[in-house]
Symmetry: C2
Subunit: 461 residues, 2 copies
């Protein structure tokens, strides 16, 4: 604790756990982007809302920048502390605080892992339906701060839809208790919704009240092999019209190559260009008939070259692993991640445009496509050649991202569907939000954080 | 056009239709509250976004206050122009602009009536599920500006859930195109959600892109007579657990008295204290069995004294009329309206508290209760005795609303569930939103409307 500011914080909030060993600074100062060198001032690990408030009051008085921090699984650098900021980690605030059956509301501290929320919902015979591969590490506070999406958005929507209340500690240390679980509340601006996707720039999310829903139905999982990108939307529309869709995910042969190299089992003897993992609520014999008939319809149209339908949980899990294992299998290849979206109706035109763009601009790179096609959301991962320096690779990727951003603007899309803007997408925010919108956002940020101490440099300057 | 400012507006926007006959000023200057004397400067009736922008640029330059105006069916005075404001009516901007089947998105001008949106959705084999009695007169822009709820919230949520995009003209005449129909878009603050429930204080809603959903299922309607308020929540929980609930509305004997006096047919020979109109998706024979068994369960518990289940659309409509006719039947009695909500789990305690409060404070008045119990939303209408002056009546009602607001604060509720704050509930906003929240809202309002020309005096000062 050599820094005088650390001593001052510890003296202002004597009960606060503060870390500043080099290993802790490195551990808590970065996220999954791994592009910036962590260099925080110190790590604050409050155990209560009061400690968060006291920490923010100190930071406000001292003019110290604060980076709110959850599970640090972010992919846009939103939780990176590379400029002497105080990292305010919610890691120790991870309890379930309460459940009311009549409301189906679960109240949790912000640092709780998504998976623990899933478990708590299950204990009450209900479901928290937002789900994605980082479930064991990411925190609910981070999910809210980025409006996390994932693999069930096509059926259940994004995190936003499940937030019935949020407690937020502001830049000046005040506690706002927003919406408080009410179903109907037309009493002025819904600041709860302003907090969702604000990436730690408007306050520190300390508590959330989450809506739960009916437990998930029994499901069947289907893996399909497709001959071309062109039929992907046709298959989606056909299956959506015929079956109760719980998920619809696609990936390319390059993605399958990496997951199989990483230990997954190849699903078919032949290799195909495109794959879909789809999950459906199964409803007895009638459901089975509908499932087979939908599958046959797609085969007859020539849209599907091969397919398998799960029998039993183990097979379903094995099929899902082909999709969910992608991110992990790519990690050693230092992927540059694009996370873009357009309207579903705009997807065919955008896919064609983007495929041509990337084929022309990235011939030398391994490009892995996957995503949530039913939400209009594509993940385009560019892998770094092993003999290329990371800095050169990023420069080259950013050149192409500029072109991709222009394509998105043309097709009415978004440069970030679900990862957030953070540091990584900040240069391209103008492709998605107009200058007037950014000016309004800047005014709102200033209204809540006049001294500019909350996650400075993230989202926009 | 005697006022120089009206001439200046007309000269600044030559194509703009401007009215300022006394009859027009009276017609467009008020809403359903009828408590304030309309006194607008003039009425602007733009036919395009460009005319709205030009009008706002003129108003900003001249420092003229503007009241955005839809169907003027509001119940909180949000569209009242009693202080020389320019009423900016969206009435002529009422077209359907487009539909995309793959997205299930309908784009409309803000002045379109809710009923016309229902019809457009039906034409595409889909449904826009927000619904309430004012459907023929209210506009989508007004629905969004108050986050309108209505009779299907228990199944489909509020207006907010169905808004995929909003175009907003700001105080300075800039056009913001917010979210543009995207399912996933984590690119900074979701200003679309900030606009919902902003009551014309952040800009003029000129266009909306609405999500549509599957067409409504076949349904059956049930009318139940209940012996006490205490069993109301029991009946709700029992039916919700057993049946696919599409609506669950309650009203009291006093409400039935007024609708019958207004021409509806009494449903039972006997008179009971409390009634429920519930609607369920009906699914063939199994559904019929579930419906009867749920009804019998409630009878066996002693929760229900009498009941009827609709056979055919005519009977269903007749049962609904008992609930939907209430507001119209009360109108001649100059009701003072309370529109409050709590969490569903808090409803029993709040009901007991409020019943005792009103019995003690309003013994001399006819108090009519109805509402959306499954959303935690009560409408408490106090009727003016015919021999009482309106001003005295309002003073007396406001005295009791202060007590009600204190009860709401105690039970974690909201002073406005779905009508909005406007002028009527402004004195009580502090019962629902903390001083810190109101300060944040004030800062946001100032950021978007620095000159304070948008609906001044509404929501908060």
């Amino acid at each position: 604790m050599s820094d005088a500011r650390v001593a001052s914080l510890q003296s202002a909030v004597p009960t606060l756990r503060v870390l500043n060993d080099p290993a802790d600074l490195a551990h808590y100062g970065g996220d999954w982007t791994r592009r910036w060198t962590p260099a925080p001032l110190a790590i604050a690990l409050p155990a209560s809302i009061e400690e968060v408030q006291a920490t923010m009051r100190w930071a406000y008085a001292q003019g110290v920048a604060v980076v709110p921090s959850g599970g640090r699984t972010g992919l846009s650098g939103g939780a990176v502390a590379a400029n002497g900021e105080l990292v305010l980690s919610l890691q120790r605030m991870n309890r379930v605080l309460g459940f009311t059956a009549a409301d189906r509301l679960l109240t949790v501290e912000a640092g709780i892992a998504l998976e623990a929320v899933h478990e708590a919902a299950r204990e009450h015979g209900l479901q928290y339906p937002v789900d994605f591969a980082a479930r064991g590490s990411c925190s609910i506070g981070g999910n809210i701060a980025t409006n996390a999406g994932g693999i069930r958005v096509v059926r259940y929507g994004n995190t936003r839809e499940w937030v019935a209340g949020v407690k937020l500690v502001t830049a000046t240390g005040e506690l706002l208790d927003l919406n408080r679980g009410l179903v109907k509340n037309s009493s002025g601006y819904d600041l709860r919704h302003l907090v969702v996707a604000s990436e730690g720039t408007l306050g520190v999310i300390v508590e959330a009240t989450l809506r739960l829903t009916d437990p998930p139905p029994d499901t069947r999982v289907m893996l399909l092999a497709l001959p071309s990108f062109d039929v992907l939307m046709e298959v989606f529309q056909a299956l959506r019209a015929r079956l109760p869709l719980e998920a619809f995910e696609f990936f390319t042969d390059r993605a399958l190559h990496h997951t199989v190299a990483h230990g997954a089992q190849a699903p078919f003897e032949s290799v195909y260009l495109y794959y879909v993992v789809a999950e459906f609520a199964s409803a007895g014999e009638a459901g089975e008939v509908a499932l087979l008939s939908a599958f046959e319809y797609c085969m007859e149209q020539g849209w599907v070259e091969d397919g398998v339908i799960s029998h039993g949980d183990a097979q379903a899990a094995a099929l899902w692993r082909l999709r969910e294992g992608i991110t992990e299998s790519l990690a050693p290849h230092v992927p540059y991640k694009n996370d873009v979206s357009v309207r579903v109706s705009e997807m065919p035109a955008f896919l064609a445009h983007t495929q041509a763009l990337l084929a022309a601009e990235y011939p030398q790179f391994d490009v892995v496509w996957f995503g949530h096609i039913g939400d209009g959301n594509l993940h385009i991962n560019v892998l770094k050649p092993s003999d290329m320096a990371n800095a050169d690779f990023v420069i080259e990727c950013e050149r192409v991202t500029k072109l991709l951003a222009a394509a998105l603007a043309e097709h009415g899309g978004s440069i970030s569907a679900e990862h957030g803007i953070g540091l990584v997408k900040k240069p391209y925010l103008g492709s998605t939000r107009s200058a007037e919108e950014i000016a309004v956002m800047r005014g709102i940020r200033r209204a809540l954080d006049p001294a500019g101490i909350l996650n400075p440099g993230k989202l926009f300057d």
